[in-house]
């Protein structure tokens, strides 16, 4: 875990609340997936959602994107209830790139990214030069400009993730919600993708498993555990050994990197915990 942000990371732009969850709860059938989640994300901030599998990260992102109706509570976008927005206006304000998305294999990469323009055009329009320019710009941001005319099925797993991110970028919404965008990426592309996202200046909420990456790139970290918000704060505040033990059931030992001087966490199994 790194305690200091890298120098190329811009500071938080201001303290205006962009999106907030107020007493949010979600259920799947009778099972409560999320309950009593309260937090606010400031404009231009990058917030990491961390937590064990099944802790509710994806559900929370879907609720924030307005595609999952909360059982209780409310999502507030710019201080107004998100549910009052029409689907199209909502999609112009919030872009979600999901975790399990498998783009249709018949599509060309450029066509797939152009889906991100859907909220900006009537359903009968599309395919014009302006759209092509927006698609190319989004692909260039993730370093995939060369693949615009390739079939999606010829992309590698990592390229697919980046193409999906490009679709989210083509949506040109100020708020970006990303569900494990670094899955299937090698180390270099994990860093590159998060650096790209960080450099956009958008408000970003990103679900991520790697605590080190979360601490390196995000302003604050929200730790979810069994559907509740365990804690939220700067990486130093949120990722304490006690919180990590509660959320993940592992022991964390802070150490200092011998060369960079940054703080990292070493993990070891808690032998007192029953092995899953």
């Amino acid at each position: 875990m790194t305690r200091t942000a890298p120098p190329d990371v811009p500071p938080i732009q201001d303290t205006v609340v962009h999106i907030a969850a107020a007493g949010l709860a979600c259920t799947a059938g009778k099972r409560v997936v999320l309950r009593d989640v309260d937090f606010a994300v400031r404009r231009g901030e990058m917030l990491a959602l961390v937590g064990a599998n099944g802790s509710g990260k994806s559900t929370l992102l879907r609720a924030l994107a307005g595609i999952r109706r909360p059982a209780a509570g409310e999502v507030l976008l710019d201080d107004a209830p998100l549910r009052r927005l029409s689907a199209r206006r909502r999609a112009r304000a919030v872009a979600l790139v999901g975790q399990e998305e498998a783009p249709p294999a018949d599509l060309i990469v450029g066509e797939m990214v152009a889906l991100g323009r859907t909220p900006h055009r009537p359903p009968w329009a599309g395919g014009d030069a302006a759209e092509r320019a927006a698609v190319l710009a989004a692909l260039d941001q993730v370093g995939l400009g060369y693949a615009v005319d390739h079939p999606v099925e010829q992309l590698s797993g990592g390229e697919r993730r980046r193409a999906l991110l490009a679709r989210g970028l083509a949506q040109q919404s100020p708020l970006l919600l990303l569900d494990e965008p670094t899955n299937h990426l090698d180390l270099r592309h994990q860093l590159g993708l998060l650096r790209t996202v960080r450099g956009l200046g958008n408000t970003v909420v990103v679900a991520i498993h790697d605590l080190d990456l979360a601490a390196t790139f995000c302003d604050r970290i929200a730790v979810l555990h069994n559907g509740t918000l365990l804690t939220i704060g700067t990486p130093e505040e949120a990722l304490t050994p006690a919180v990590i033990h509660d959320a993940f059931g592992v022991l964390a030992t802070p150490v200092t990197h011998p060369i960079t001087g940054r703080a990292h966490l070493l993990f070891s199994a808690d032998e007192t915990e029953p092995h899953p």
């Binding site: 994107a65 595609i67 998305e101 018949d106 889906l115 859907t118 055009r121 359903p123 009968w124």
Partner: protein, 332 residues
């Protein structure tokens, strides 16, 4: 190119039939009609009153089936879906069988069969829609299952009606109707069918951006601002109406709605803006020639269209499956 092929097919196909005509005679008869000149009266009747409406109906029904197949494959996100998945054709068969075997709707006269089929189709569609909504919405898997189950039930009812019928000819008539035929083509039914195909096809094309997103995944579509529930309901209603009309005039012709969308996607990619018109044109050309084959294969009797489409369609589908680079719109 498809348009040229379609126009040529339409003219040439009018030459084939129980009474073969050289295509110059066909052109003469058409030219005489269009210019108001008088030609040979017998050829005029054959071409203008029998062959031309039949060819036009083949064009319209072929296009409509291909459009409906494309729409249904997007609605249920399943490459094996065909237009009859929604229970519409099985419901239509109940209506048609009731007309054939028990003579209900005799008040409708010549239209009884079509009206009965249409009523059966719409009733079945309503039932599928209602059951799906009651169970939580028009999700792809639920629609596939409910459509399949209710289709089986409707087919059972139709079989029961045939079984109970005292008329030995009824089974033959029902079978012929079920397998599809354009032999009842007449000018007066064309406007309704053509109107349904053009209007509903037009609506689908104008919603192609939303259909593209829906084909990707319902969640993605929702996140992209597509009103998923409304689009699904609208798509269901449009497709049920379209298929109901097509089944009412031509019976259930198999394979066109299943195979043509795939062929179209292989030609022009996955975007509905391109897939729908190409599928419609290809379906029109295909059914014109299928109908020709049905007319001349065992002259002077006609064979049902599904016999021809099945014999052509099954191998075509297998060849498509063997082509590894085409993925049927699915990822894995």
């Amino acid at each position: 190119m498809l348009l040229v092929l379609l126009a040529a097919s339409a003219v040439v196909s009018a030459g084939f039939g129980a009474e073969p005509l050289p295509w110059s005679t066909v052109v003469d008869a058409l030219a005489n009609r269009l210019t108001g000149a008088t030609g040979d009266a017998m050829f005029d009747v054959i071409v203008w009153e029998i062959r031309v409406p039949r060819t036009l109906l083949a064009i319209v029904v072929g296009a409509g089936l291909a459009v409906a197949g494309t729409g249904i494959q997007t609605l249920v996100r399943n490459p094996l879906a065909d237009p009859y998945l929604l229970g519409v054709s099985a419901g239509a068969s109940v209506g048609a069988t009731a007309v054939i075997t028990f003579g209900v709707l005799t008040a409708a006269g010549l239209w009884a069969l079509s009206v009965g089929a249409l009523l059966g189709a719409l009733g079945a569609a309503l039932l599928v829609f209602g059951v799906a909504m009651a169970q939580g919405g028009l999700t792809p898997l639920r629609l596939v299952l409910i459509g399949t189950v209710l289709s089986a039930a409707f087919s059972a009812v139709a079989s029961f009606l045939v079984f109970r019928s005292a008329n030995p000819q009824a089974a033959q008539a029902v079978l012929f109707w079920l397998l599809g035929s354009l032999s009842g083509a007449a000018w007066n039914q064309l406007p309704l069918v053509a109107g349904a195909v053009v209007v509903i096809g037009g609506v689908l094309v104008s919603g192609s951006g939303w259909l593209d997103a829906l084909a990707t995944s319902p969640d993605t579509a929702a996140a992209l601002g597509v009103p998923v529930r409304a689009v699904r309901s609208g798509l269901f209603v449009l497709l049920a109406a379209l298929v109901g009309v097509l089944v009412a005039v031509a019976g259930s012709i198999g394979f066109v709605g299943l195979v043509l969308p795939h062929i179209s996607r292989m030609l022009v990619g996955a975007r509905h803006r391109a897939v729908l018109p190409v599928a419609a044109l290809a379906g029109a050309v295909f059914l014109v020639w299928v109908d020709v084959a049905a007319r001349i294969a065992v002259r002077p009797t006609e064979i049902p269209l599904s016999v021809v489409t099945g014999l052509i369609g099954a191998p075509v589908f297998l060849v498509l499956m063997a082509r590894r680079h085409y993925r049927f719109g699915a990822d894995r």
